[in-house]
Structure formats: C-alpha cells, structure tokens
Amino acid sequence: MLTVVYFARYREALGVGEEQLPWSAELVTVNDVRAQLLTRGEAWQVLDEPKVMCARNQDMCRLETPIADGDEIAFFPPVTGG
C-alpha cells in the first residue's frame, strides 16, 4: 500500500488531501504513481505541471526517485513559505 498526499492548490483542485493506493510492482518511481493518477481525468492534470514537486517519505525527491511498498508519496506545487 502507498499513502499519497496532496497539498495547497493541488489538494483543493483534487478535492482530496490523502489517500491509499494499492502497491504494485509496476510502480517503480514516483513518476509511475503520477502517471497512474493522471489517467483519472481532467482535475488530475494539475499533477502534470512542469513545476510539480514531490516528496518520498517526507523528503523532497525527484520524479525519477524509486519507491517501495509502504511509502508516503507527496505531490505539491512550488512552496511559498518564509
């Protein structure tokens, strides 16, 4: 199982902040999770933005970062704190 979390503008656009996704061996990288989410329809295309940011287990990562069963994967727009 994967936990997938969304923040800020993405969370609002998707209408969901957190969900569980079944683990599958085809999900090799963060980008594979994203590709699967993009098939869900129009609203999910926000994850296709060039500047989409992601984290694996609460560490900023790249879309190419490998993932494992049990991971927490996050997608969010560029950060604006400070």
């Binding site: 800020a8 500047k51 984290a55 950060v79 604006t80 400070g82």
Partner: protein, 150 residues
C-alpha cells in the same frame, strides 16, 4: 538548535535575545524576520492562511539547519515558522543564527532563508478583495538558491 512550527503569534525580539542568552562566546547574531505585508503582487492583502506538510516541515527545516551548521561555524540556530491564519503585520518566520564571527552568521542566516523559501513545504493563501489566492513561487527564489549550489 530549535525548530518550531506553530500557529500562535510570537515575539521576534524575545527570540533574538534568547539566541544570545548568556553564551559569552557569541560575537555575532544575525536574524531574519518575515512579516505579513498588507499588499502583494498588486493587491491589498487582508490576511493569509499558511498550509504546511506536518512531519515533513520539521524534517525539511532540520536538514536545512544541519546543512548550514556543516558549512559554517555556528553556535546556535533558531527557526520558527508559523502556520494557520495570519494577519497583516504579524511575523511569519524567524531565523536567527549566532556565531563567533560576523560573516558566518550573515551567510548562514541568508542560506537558511533561501532554502526555506524553496525547500520547506509551506504554502501561502492570501485573502484579497477578489477572494483568496494561492501565492505563486518566485523565480528569484530559485535563483537565490543557486548561489549556494555552485
């Protein structure tokens, strides 16, 4: 070293004075305070909501501070960032650094702010006359980061 994420307002002056707090080896303290402005990107701002990623926020800030400590000889580092509802004029973030040496304190504080701005999971949503809007990230913040990566 303290890293704090909180909804409550805080007193920057008190944090500044605590940074020194009787450590007689401290020669230099540099600190940054970010405040909610009443105007941004051409619009009046009546307040903002600061969202974050609980858990990752603390972890990300911790890594940034660790990196700063690895680069410069620092005595103490104090990072406080607020989340939730903020009013114009209220402080958002405090980054304070103490060192025996002036330039180390300046550089470390500047570095921490540049990384915080681009690597810590906070998002601002401003209240304007035309309704709420998510603040866009600035290109200049990415450029500021690159200075430290060369």
């Amino acid at each position: 070293m303290t890293i704090t994420v909180q909804t409550a307002c805080f007193d920057p002056g008190q944090l500044l004075n605590q940074l020194h707090a009787d450590h007689l080896g401290v020669g230099a303290v540099v600190n940054f305070v970010g405040y909610v402005r009443d105007f941004n990107d051409g619009q009046a701002v009546a307040g903002m909501l600061l969202e974050h990623y609980p858990g990752m926020t603390e972890k990300a800030l911790g890594k940034i501070v660790d990196e700063a400590r690895a680069r410069w000889p620092l005595l103490s580092v104090d990072v406080l960032h607020r989340v939730g509802r903020l009013e114009p004029g209220e402080p958002i973030v405090f980054v304070g650094v103490s060192s025996a040496h002036r330039q180390a304190a300046f550089d470390a504080c500047n570095f921490i702010m540049d990384y915080l701005k681009t690597r810590a999971p906070f998002w601002k949503k401003e209240d304007t006359a035309e309704g709420p809007r998510w603040v866009d990230a600035r290109e200049s913040d990415d450029q500021a980061l690159e200075r430290w990566q060369q």
